[in-house]
Point group: C2
Chain length 203, copies 2
């Protein structure tokens, strides 16, 4: 595709560098911006640049943050005794959105994956160690993907810290709310029977 303008060609090329956006969609987005008030593209461009220059990683939990310590870590009302290990910032957001967790987090930044060349050294495991050294953590919750890589990472961290006086737990795996048993995969169904919980009429 030939573009009538180098500026347009450059914008299309850069936009189509984003995942899931091809050249045609990129052109559509660029033409959309050209039809809007100039300020929209200016603000969008600036906020993308600010995103990478201004965002910080929380020193304690490696969540994204505007300050050196993120809002969750600096909130005195959160429970220091439980620490939830997640792979990714998105997982923090997902768990926060449930409104069911008031403890702290630790973002690993990935999971052990020999296929992608990610070993334990690339993950924020020393940060877990620092958290555990404070002595306030009583329970470590693993909230990693229900995949082989997630399970490997959970096991690696468990083995590394199992000598410490701390309880380990993982988030429950089972049948999703709204699922019909007939269509559930047998592993999830098997786990949900094994890990059945006392019936609670208030649930």
């Amino acid at each position: 595709m030939e573009y009538p303008s180098k500026v347009l060609a450059k914008a299309v090329e850069e936009i189509s560098g984003l995942p899931g956006i091809g050249k045609k969609s990129a052109l559509r987005l660029a033409l959309h911006l050209l039809r809007q008030p100039e300020s929209q593209a200016m603000v969008l461009g600036e906020s993308l640049q600010k995103l990478v220059t201004d965002i910080k990683y929380c020193r304690d939990c490696h969540n994204f943050s505007d300050a050196e310590i993120c809002e969750i870590c600096s909130n005195p009302k959160r429970n220091d005794e439980v620490l939830c290990i997640v792979e990714d910032v998105r997982d923090v957001m997902a768990i926060e959105n449930t409104g069911k967790y008031r403890g702290r987090y630790l973002v690993l930044g990935g999971k052990i994956s020999p296929m992608e060349g990610i070993g334990p050294n690339q993950l924020n495991i020393p940060a877990i160690e620092r958290k555990l050294e404070t002595g306030s953590v009583k329970e470590l919750i693993f909230a990693l993907s229900a995949t082989m890589e997630g399970d490997t990472t959970t096991y690696y961290i468990y083995k590394k810290f199992k000598h410490l006086k701390v309880n380990f737990s993982t988030i429950a795996r089972g049948i999703s709310v709204g699922d019909e048993l007939e269509y559930a995969d047998e592993i999830s169904l098997g786990r949900s029977i094994q890990n059945r919980v006392p019936y609670d009429e208030k649930d």
Copy 2:
């Protein structure tokens, strides 16, 4: 959805202002940029800003251009005698990609659409007049959408200039290459029979 950082929230908000991109996709794109080298977001941001500040509209044909006159209008090898009227810059690119047209273009910037409040005054019709006044144009090709709005626009322009010594034509409407007659809509099929062309063994 709560975001751990205001910079991230702002970026997500701005990205999701683009058509076809929701909050979830916007977050995915923002997190992608954060995983890439900082330069990618910087270059992307800059090229979006440059897009709206640096792009010009060709004085002659209203195509996008880096200079005051676009590459097509300033190319002396193009045929001044045919002028192709299109709605949009994308249509110029589409026709250029066919490699079958060597004349000039004129970008209307839309089509007459009472529903969207677009009347003839919002379109670049005076630019057609200027082109026709030079006396070099012998044929005006209408290459507008095959919709009611496109047809209305074609008719409006035709009526406005039909007193001038210039031939009017529209791009052929018919069966797309690769289509089976059985599944073609009857209007296209009807037109393609009415407007049949002499058989050419080289086609």
